[in-house]
């Protein structure tokens, strides 16, 4: 497969702005960034496809540290193939599918299966996340070492969807993964404080009568975990921060020198608990949508570096799991195909972040946390000559309206239907192979040059 990728046509992107900087030419050939600048055109081999990059921004291929691909087990909601195709369309070149599949990804066998399915699909690199505890049960450590040393080379471990709430188990997990430079990605949710919880606990929950999910249930676990990570000298990654208090705790922990990284989802950067007034389960998500003050704190935290990355928490669900009353519906929303646009809309258009910052929070930082920056097939590398040609081209000025029915994900539970967003992924390259051109997926093996609009 890798020969096919390397053997595809070279691409010369003319007049593109790497990280939003001065326009230049970019030659992607032999699977690498072969040349940058005025010399690139001259080095283009015969058969090179030229792309007019005027007005486009080039980013390193995006890396999602938080994805749900649902396979094995819930192929009715998403498969590795459909989910990774959606990821490519969203500008991603690597994703980390979470372990809450059926069976749970808590053995070397399951993570290798998912890894192979990703390889076979060929849309992005798939780096499975291993479960921390057997069956996500929260009582016994899964065979973390076996997963780390499997072909899938797992470095990120998480019981995502469930919190590792037992403090002793959390401590052991944090300590154990030091042996292979792993990281525990925690879903911070105190289970007793959130029993039956449906939405953020506050003014809106009081009025609409949905059981409240207090901010403290997230913040108390984060506070505990950063102290545990400090005590045992381990790396901790805190998933999907949703409250202003969580941002404050992370800021404090980083100032203290604790090796903690933090993540925000696109939806928590944009949507608020006011949407629960519609009782439409499209807005039911874990952790829940919070208040406008929390959204502002997350944006500020992402801009000042307290929050390291944006992770999609892409969570596809079948229609029957959302076409019902709120309390009966599943938690989660899709996000791979809208993440870049939401970050552009909320952070770049508002002047709070540059495109270089976007590259940091959506590519280089997640790759570093997941250790894919030093993997056999590196991700999140800088746009420099000799680096792998994992590149995403973005049109920052396009305004478009989200239509869940036309998305590539197999599920339709996007909360953004009808919403206008700014900035859109135009092309994605995985080690030099175009997976997306002109905003359309390029099926593996298809003759890329035939796609309209190129050149």
């Amino acid at each position: 497969m890798s020969e096919t990728i390397v053997g595809g046509p070279a691409y010369l992107v003319r007049g593109v702005a790497p990280l939003g900087g001065p326009p230049t030419d970019l030659l992607l050939a032999g699977g690498l960034v072969a040349a940058i600048g005025a010399a690139a055109a001259g080095l283009a081999p015969a058969g090179t496809v030229t792309i007019d990059g005027a007005g486009l921004v080039a980013l390193p291929g995006l890396v999602d540290l938080h994805t749900h691909l649902r396979e094995p087990g819930r192929e009715d909601a998403e498969t590795v193939r459909s989910g990774t195709r959606a990821a490519a369309l969203g500008g991603y070149t690597a994703v980390h599918p979470m372990a809450n599949t059926s069976p749970v990804a808590d053995t070397a066998g399951v993570v290798e299966q998912v890894w192979r399915l990703g390889n076979d699909a060929g849309w992005v690199d798939v780096h499975p996340v291993g479960a921390v505890s057997v069956g996500l049960g929260g009582t016994q450590l899964a065979e973390l070492g076996a997963m780390a040393h499997s072909a899938a080379r797992v470095r990120v471990f998480s019981d995502d969807g469930k919190c590792v709430h037992d403090p002793v188990l959390m401590r052991r997990a944090l300590e154990y993964v030091k042996a292979f430079d792993g990281v525990i990605a925690q879903h911070s949710q105190e289970p007793l404080l959130t029993r039956g919880a449906q939405m953020h606990e506050g003014v809106v929950s009081a009025e609409v009568g949905l059981a409240g999910w207090p901010a403290v249930a997230e913040e108390a676990i984060i506070a505990r975990d950063v102290l545990l990570a400090e005590h045992v000298g381990s790396r901790l990654h805190v998933q999907h921060l949703s409250t202003a208090g969580s941002v404050e705790i992370i800021r404090w922990a980083k100032a203290r020198g604790i090796a903690v990284t933090a993540e925000a989802t696109p939806h928590h950067l944009l949507l608020t608990d006011e949407l629960a007034r519609t009782y439409d389960p499209l807005y039911k998500v874990n952790p829940p949508l919070r208040t406008a003050q929390d959204v502002e704190a997350l944006r500020a935290g992402l801009a000042d570096g307290t929050i390291d990355i944006v992770g999609t928490d892409h969570a596809p669900h079948t229609r029957e799991d959302k076409d019902c009353e709120w309390a009966a519906a599943a938690f989660g929303m899709t996000g791979l195909e809208t993440a870049l646009s939401i970050v552009a809309t909320t952070m770049v258009s508002t002047g709070r972040m540059t495109w270089a910052d976007v590259a940091r929070v959506m590519s280089s930082a997640p790759a570093r946390i997941g250790r894919t920056d030093t993997a056999v097939r590196p991700q999140g590398r800088p746009l420099e000559v000799g680096e792998p040609a994992n590149v995403t081209l973005v049109d920052p000025s396009t305004r478009w309206v989200v239509d869940p029915a036309t998305q590539a994900t197999a599920s339709r539970n996007s909360p953004y239907g009808g919403r206008e967003l700014t900035g859109r992924v135009v092309a994605t390259f995985l080690r030099g192979r175009a997976t997306v051109l002109d905003g359309a997926a390029v099926e593996p093996g298809a003759p890329a040059v035939s796609v309209g609009g190129v050149r």
């Binding site: 009081a206 609409v208 709120w326």
Partner: protein, 328 residues
Amino acid sequence: MKHLLSAADLDRDAAVHVLDTAAQMAATQAREIKKLPTLRGKTVVNLFFEDSTRTRISFETAAKRLSADVINFSAKGSSVSKGESLKDTALTLQAMGADAVVVRHHASGAPHRLAHAGWVGSSVINAGDGTHQHPTQALLDAFTLRRHLAGTATDREGIGRDLAGLHVAIVGDVLHSRVARSNVQLLHTLGARVTLVAPPTLVPVGAHAWSCAISYHLDEVLAQQPDAIMMLRVQRERMGTEGGGSAVGFFPSPLEYTRAYGLDARRLARLPEHAIVLHPGPMNRGLEISADAADSPRAVIVEQVSNGVAVRMAVLYLLLAKERETLA
């Protein structure tokens, strides 16, 4: 108005109009022949996913007095217990030609979904959803309050009037109460002042934004001489462990609750002469209300039940026969 989902759906004039219509309905119920032909040919479905004999009977009586055909659909023994979704149940009822669906559901927002998810085209009346709303209960409470406290010698019903100037205390499990939420909104809309009284564990976080005062001390509120006191049902299962887990109770014991928040003869005597006692039922005698208080002449609890029929007749009439402006 097509649906009645929340007390917040009604502004002051709409609420007074419902109460005035209910007064006309109540007047017809004093006649020898109680049945009106108004909704002949209309079908009303009582869709009850939760047990509530009194609310279902009240709606059934109201619909039958208006000559509507009534179908009772209760979750017990139906296909719902076999896992049929709310959506499929709704589609089935729609196919049977329901003009109005009266829905009681354990999930907050279920009537809202029925009305707005595009599943059914009929009117939806919320007969109580989770811990959200129970708007006809608030209407019947307002109707009862108006009758006793805003009527005059010449106009006992207080036609055209609201509840301006009245002070109503609502006491008990506010956290889990759809009755409290509905009443806070409707009584405020009608100009009354509401004070919620509960132990802090039974006041929802976020209730500070509601249009009411909140107190943790019943005796202090009684000293303010409220015009009416509404006692909410306190479920014994709120005390102690829930669902077999380690969840702690909302209060230490029934005895401690009764001491601090129960309405007994001693507290009843401290209310002003004209004040009335309400309870949405069913009562826990000896817990939130003593037998002395429940059976006192100032308790209008039984009258609330008959007023409930009149108010529900008014709501069904206004939603389904709105082409006619006045009663026949």
